[in-house]
């Protein structure tokens, strides 16, 4: 009634590996159910414990009620918008603000969508496709550095 699924992949000898079917099947596989689900559950429990502990150690923030007529409050973006706010700094002046704030992120998102069609090389490992890897690392480094610059600007702002 139910098809028993074999654990081992088909014996490799008879199969002729060609350019197309080399990525057909990994060398060694494990069943999803016991092992992989266990690893996933392990990581998930860690995350849940972290969230619960943090929600008591440093509770979700709730500052004083909103007041649109304040002149003493210093607005700060959430941490995941730090790099975006810092990147805006590189586009001063009337024409460049809308360019840097809207057009640059839209172009970035469109490029992100088109990644599979921009990098069509056969090989998947990052050492075999240096162009894509270098650009990927560049983007990661620029984002991290902008985040760091935002942090140093926020903690050092002469206002407070």
């Amino acid at each position: 009634m139910y098809a028993p699924a074999t654990g081992k992949a088909k014996p490799v000898e008879q199969e002729v590996i060609t350019e197309e079917n080399v990525f057909e099947r990994p060398d060694e596989t494990i069943a999803f159910f016991p092992k992989q689900v266990l690893y996933d559950l392990f990581v998930s429990t860690l995350l849940l414990l972290a969230c619960s502990a943090l929600s008591y150690v440093s509770p979700a923030p709730l500052t004083e009620p909103a007041d649109t007529a304040t002149v003493t409050y210093v607005p700060r973006p959430e941490w995941f918008f730090f790099f975006y706010e810092q990147m805006l700094m590189f586009f001063p002046g009337y024409a460049l603000i809308s360019f840097g704030a809207v057009i640059v992120p839209t172009v970035f998102v469109l490029l992100l969508f088109a990644v599979p069609w921009l990098d069509r090389g056969p090989r998947a490992s990052s050492t075999r496709r240096p162009f894509a890897t270098v650009i990927g690392l560049l983007v990661v480094v620029v984002v991290l550095l902008n985040m760091l610059m935002a942090v140093s600007r926020i903690i050092n702002f002469p206002g407070q």
Partner: protein, 269 residues
């Protein structure tokens, strides 16, 4: 001794009967088997938990979000008080809202890691391009949900981050004014702003997010987990071995004498 063994066999038969009945009616057993016993790559199992951790965090957000709905009131003068109530009066209120807040932060970090892992391991190569596109759509939805969610608590942080965010939005060419009036529900911040953000954060975007997660998982299961090239080391080695042998025969046919060694690449013409 007879009673226990008889009870066990009766239970086994009953179990089998139920399983067969369900299988015939809904085919659920085969579906579960296909879901659970699918072979996945072994070597990098721990790295692939990034994706499932993201899934877990999103389900956590859905759960705690729905729980928060029981107490939250989306009007300008009660929003803050309702959250104050959750944090101080409701049993485990701090925990539920804490999880919602912290797992949101972890979710964005985890999505970053998951995307980086898939990008650097080349997981978007054919035939998995669509799954990458759906992933980017999920990323955008989560970022906008995070932005709208930040405003709902209607405290100083929330309000002013929204003011700055919308003012940035108003700089977009052509549609700048319309998007900001749509988000604010008029041309100034008021009660309509918070109810619109509430509607977007609680229903519009999660309702868009859920099916895309479904598609993401369906596409994953359709092509199987790619993992990393390290999962295909042996097959790659066999392929290169076979190609090299073919190359040698090619030399022998062209030159007529057995192959003696690789011709120097920088041979000057």
């Amino acid at each position: 001794m007879g009673a226990i063994s008889r009870a066990r066999s009766q239970a086994a038969d009953a179990g089998k009967f139920v399983a067969d009945w369900l299988e015939h009616r809904a085919g659920i057993i085969t579906m579960m088997e296909h879901f659970l016993y699918e072979p996945v790559p072994k070597r990098g199992a721990w790295i692939y938990t990034l994706g499932s951790a993201t899934l877990f965090l999103i389900t956590l957000q859905f759960l705690t979000g729905i729980l928060l709905l029981f107490y939250y009131v989306p009007t300008t003068d009660h929003a803050w008080n309702s959250i104050y109530y959750i944090m101080n009066e409701a049993y485990f209120g701090t925990l539920i809202r804490g999880i919602h807040y912290w797992s949101a932060n972890f979710l964005l970090a985890m999505i970053g890691l998951h995307m980086a892992q898939v990008f650097f391991s080349g997981g978007y190569k054919a035939p998995r391009e669509l799954n990458w596109v759906v992933g980017v759509v999920l990323l955008l939805l989560v970022v906008i949900i995070a932005f709208t969610g930040y405003a709902l608590r209607w405290d100083q942080d929330g309000l002013w981050a929204t003011v700055v965010g919308m003012k940035i939005g108003s700089y977009s060419p052509f549609v700048g004014a319309y998007t900001i009036q749509f988000l604010m529900g008029g041309d100034t911040i008021g009660p309509a702003t918070i109810s619109r953000f509430f509607a977007i954060h609680v229903w519009l975007l999660p309702a868009a997010l859920a099916p895309f997660i479904g598609i993401h998982l369906y596409l994953l299961r359709r092509h199987g987990v790619f993992g990393d090239e390290m999962e295909y080391r042996e097959r790659m080695a066999k392929l290169q071995e076979r190609q090299r042998l073919e190359e040698y025969e090619q030399y022998e046919e062209d030159d007529g004498e057995p192959y003696v060694g690789r011709r120097d690449r920088a041979d000057r013409d």
